[in-house]
Symmetry: C2
Subunit: 339 residues, 2 copies
């Protein structure tokens, strides 16, 4: 990794905050060289391929500039592990490129602590990276292993497949609404859900369990239904969603039905997995749910494409399909949500 | 790859500027899935491992904010390919995470053109990425393949190894000095060298040829002698450098001897390879030089460590070792260079 030396003391930074904290890898035959050379080296086990994902988080856009650095460190890795989970991959390691406005020792210690707590939890060591001065920007590329040909792609959904989502959706959006003072939440309610925004749990175990079960999958980062559209587009199919089935937390259920529906359908940052599977896999899926102690909810089904572009039809509480305008409102992405 | 949707129209951006321009891979058995899913998938050929490198370039720090976007696109990939070259790896593909202050179609078209020109030249396709709004920041992670165990590491230098450098050094620094008006260059002189700063050539062919020839290698990004220290530190050895041997261009040779020495020894951004090899490999190295039509120059040798920390001793034009102060000045990094 090339570096821009200067007042940051790049090499000192890496040594001090990132090198020593690096987790050891459970299957270290795959990782032949870590930090300290021009490149890291990884070698998949025979019969495995490498899944790769990159995400960039920018201060003021993906997180508040004064966000708790420990939680931020965890979240920066979690969003990448969530992408690995969506393919069914097992985490192998990650690289970190970070621009920092200044060398703030306390901030770096906390960030590194949060980052490595996640790295250790998922046996996903830091294997290389780059540090530089600049507006606070975190770019992580994560690597996972998966048996050749077993990756769960977005393009594999089939007509009549059921559509599932893990956990609950909408709480990260509800937390943001409370922090933005769009909605008033009691302290205990906020406390019950704010980890969903600040410390999302990547569904790594679920993703691995869904290999050979799910026909298509992705992680919910921009909003459940908007993200589902990517599966539909790549599979060239439509979907029918039953609004009542969207799984929400007890805290979100205290809000108006309109808020519940909007946040569950289009709130971002949930990092749950949305996947499709033939109905013959229903029992297998319910067993996975039981074993992982993670709710998995069927929210609709895949249908054939009616027009030239993919569509989601939403069945409302009265059993009737929502109007185009109401449907569009629930498909609106995170950023465009209007109070 | 998760995304932050919003006014940028991330998916449109990827489709329009990055997806279609993606190069095809010469050995596409290794690349099973490109852009458009949660992750990319790559599979090394049997007996090969994957080299990984990440670099982050920040506007105003690594390049001028008004830099030619076409050249910038090429350089952003080139600096990563240079890291692959330093390990002896063959480029396989790369991911791009980019923060953009605004959607500037002309800028994006030019950036993408420069990026893919390099990607195509080195058969290194874009396999995934992330786009977001934010201060202009480019983060590339590049992947290369290398036969297992054949990567050229920084730690392999041995006592009495010769130290070599490819091409010439100091021209990128001379270009910067001219642009900063520290030095006046004629238009023709500037034209003769400014590609060294704006469009560096990663020494990919050389890196691959040096497998089983070089004992250690790295690419020169921060300055030749400062970077050489990383080899020495990891190999726990010292070095003796003959100042007169540092290879410089005819343009740099028009400057004062002091400037020549300073820029060649400590100027950054050259992206040449510095490597060590036993003297028994001298003929092989000179043959590689001839075949690649790339000068390779022996600039000194590795010696045993005299103190607790690694040292570089520099032999001046009079055949005598430079004083500690003069040595320190030549080891100064790029950013700290004083006029």
């Amino acid at each position: 990794m090339h570096s821009q030396s200067g007042p940051m003391g790049e090499f000192d930074l890496i040594e001090r905050f990132f090198k020593t904290g690096s987790a050891s890898n459970a299957s270290n035959t795959t990782l032949s060289l870590g930090i300290g050379d021009d490149c890291a080296l990884i070698k998949p086990l025979p019969g495995e391929e490498i899944a790769i994902t990159s995400d960039m988080l920018v201060a003021g856009r993906h997180f508040f500039a004064d966000a708790d650095p420990e939680k931020l460190g965890g979240k920066a890795l979690a969003v990448n592990l969530s992408d690995l989970a969506a393919m069914g991959a097992k985490p192998l390691g990650f690289t970190l490129a970070i621009a920092l406005p200044e060398v703030d020792t306390k901030w770096l210690e906390a960030f590194s602590k949060g980052l490595f707590a996640f790295a250790n939890q998922f046996s996903c060591p830091l294997i290389g990276g780059d540090t530089t001065a600049g507006p606070l920007t975190i770019s992580i590329t994560a690597f996972g292993s998966i048996p050749t040909g077993k990756a769960i792609r977005r393009s594999g959904a089939k007509i009549e497949d059921e559509i599932w989502v893990s956990g609950t959706v909408g709480d990260a959006r509800l937390t943001l609404a409370a922090l933005r003072h769009e909605i008033t939440l009691s302290e205990s309610d906020l406390k019950a859900i704010d980890h969903r925004m600040h410390q999302p749990t990547p569904r790594v175990g679920l993703g691995m369990a869904l290999r050979e079960v799910a026909s298509a999958a992705l992680d919910v980062s921009d909003g459940l239904l908007g993200d589902l559209k990517h599966i539909l587009k790549q599979s060239q199919l439509d979907a029918e969603i039953i609004l009542e089935q969207l799984p929400t937390s007890a805290t979100l259920q205290k809000q108006s039905k309109a808020i519940q529906n909007q946040f569950a359908a289009s709130g971002g940052d949930d990092y749950e997995l949305c996947f499709t599977a033939p109905s013959s896999k229903r029992d297998v899926i319910l067993n996975i749910s039981k074993e992982l102690k993670l709710p998995l909810t069927c929210i609709g089904r895949i249908t054939c494409m009616k027009n030239s572009s993919t569509q989601i039809r939403i069945q409302g509480t009265d059993g009737k399909l929502l109007s185009d305008a109401d449907t569009a409102a629930l498909l609106r992405s995170f950023d465009h949500f209007a109070k």
